[in-house]
Symmetry: C2
Subunit: 342 residues, 2 copies
């Protein structure tokens, strides 16, 4: 099969790889219908040291079950399924708590002999515990929004849930990437009344307004904080959907004492400000990598009936062989989120 | 009047100070019946640079109202009152949310011309918004437990509340100081089933057991984490009542993915580990300086009817003139918490 492999910074190649086969009885092989490039793929794309072996890329995909192992009972060949961005057994203590991201038997696509999603097919471990069957046809117009459940939409929802967003809230979302925009959808869906979106790419913040943002702040740094405070007087709940220190500083500057910052962007720092000042202010830091598998079932009805349409974050489609162009376009910020079709 | 003033590290003096008088119409002057030394007083006692002017000490006290300003309506001369460890107007937006520690007009005893609590009398700003009237006589045997509402007991309660402790929980409390021990009381009071207390001073951990701790871990560092994990398999909720990096590391090592660490000890660090590892684990960091004023009313009935008796943390009494000895004894860990009587 053809699949995308990263060999180092700005070095993504589409090449022939062995066709996936069932290895464990809990495996399924999924023929990919559509996948995409994640904002988090851009971190290794910017900085991964060169390697001879390469790393299969992609962790968001949707496809048709082609083959199942002997122990797979909930799925059968021909089922259309969406894959959360990590696999999980759905039976361990963490999965039982809804924290599938920490599954005792879980793991990441592209590691440990598991294929990446940016390819023609994927062997999915713990298929019953991982994949969610979709009640639509493989040519449904809803496919982009269903694919968004793999990661960006469920991640945005994780931010809204962990920030404790409810009816009437004023919320700040820092970052106008696909996760930030999906966090706007999620905050709106949970009843937030005012949603301030901090971002400076007008095409993206315009989409954010369609998703429910009531105000946009394009200024950054101290100026951005001042503007947010001027608009809102400070906010109780912040979703930080970037992962950089400046984004965290914006969140800390805008949040009121006693407020909550939920982080969705993978931190690009090891240490951060949790000293006496933040302590005296009673700031809660929460969020993290979202348990997509736990949320897909909750959000699916709203995608199916059109209440939410996170698929709008995909603003350009690429054939699989053009995946390197998709990375380049996203890294250069010409494309918000690239959808890939094998 | 006589009052304790700190002039530098290990330099506390009891000296003559001007008698407090009403300055603002919202002030009250309180004649101190009993006060105490706080664990947090030991940080400046260890490290405060020498100063000529000195800093009046003490922020926990209980006393009799002697005089009130023209605008004070809820209190009158002769009332026995307990003071939360900061003053607050009880009317601003933060106070309305129960976050009196962040009061827009609030402040700290011993700063900005306000007396400290370790003295014969205190001018209390925003007396109506700060002081809580106590329905007992000034010679009540409950006085130590009522004094504990000033800080340690309400702070411990803040940890239990922000950690989200409820019925049946397994909780780790890191630190066997007065706040850690009161956090044990608070966790027990909110229904925790297992309370593991990490501390190595057996007199203190024995008191912790009386307060509700079900297990004690005396080991520290990695050994301590291993022991806690062996006992519990990891915990969902941790109250960190020390404030040092090793204490935070113990909390991080013992907490399960998706768990919550509530910090009650003022951090003795500016930056801490909130990088990709903690992010992937979905650790929530919460807590902070507790809004004592918000909690006194909730806890008071339980002190009055003997359900909780946090006053047991006071293991030695000192006359006011012996306050320097009280500091020394606490710093040298001969005394857990010193009660002072003018």
């Amino acid at each position: 099969m053809r699949a995308a492999v990263m060999y180092g910074a700005r070095d993504v190649r589409v090449e022939d790889r062995p066709d996936p086969k069932i290895v464990q009885p809990t495996d399924a092989v999924v023929r990919v219908v559509t996948s995409c490039v994640c904002g988090s793929d851009l971190w290794p794309y910017a900085a991964m040291p060169a390697t001879d072996t390469g790393r299969p890329m992609g962790h968001e995909f949707l496809g048709v079950v082609e083959e199942t192992g002997a122990d797979v009972t909930a799925l059968k060949s021909g089922d259309l399924v969406v894959a959360p961005f990590t696999y999980s057994d759905n039976t361990c203590d963490y999965c039982a708590k809804g924290l599938h991201i920490s599954c005792r038997n879980g793991g990441r696509y592209g590691f440990d002999g598991v294929d990446g999603g940016q390819g023609e097919a994927v062997r999915v471990p713990y298929a019953d515990g991982t994949l969610v069957k979709l009640p639509v046809a493989a040519d449904s117009a809803l496919l982009p929004s269903l694919l968004a459940l793999s990661d960006v939409m469920t991640t945005g929802h994780h931010g809204a849930v962990t920030a404790g967003i409810g009816r009437g809230d004023t919320v700040l979302v820092v970052g106008d990437g696909a996760v930030g925009l999906c966090a706007v959808i999620a905050a709106h869906r949970l009843g937030a009344e005012r949603i301030v979106l901090a971002g400076r790419h007008s095409a993206r913040t315009d989409l954010g307004r369609r998703f429910g943002a009531t105000e946009v702040v394009a200024e950054r740094g101290e100026e951005g904080v001042a503007r947010i405070r001027e608009l809102t007087g400070g906010v109780d709940k912040v979703i930080e959907a970037v992962g950089t220190r400046p984004a965290l500083d914006t969140a800390l500057g805008a949040v009121l004492d006693g407020g909550t910052i939920s982080r969705l962007g993978v931190p690009q720092y090891e240490q951060g400000p949790i000293g006496p000042a933040e302590f005296m202010r009673n700031i809660t830091l929460t969020g993290g990598a979202g348990p997509a598998r736990a949320y897909i079932g909750q959000l699916l009805p709203d995608v199916l009936d059109g209440t939410i349409a996170p698929g709008h974050v995909f603003d350009q489609e690429f054939a699989l062989d053009r995946t390197p162009d998709a990375y380049r376009a996203m890294a250069d910020r010409q494309v918000l989120k690239a959808l890939i079709r094998p």
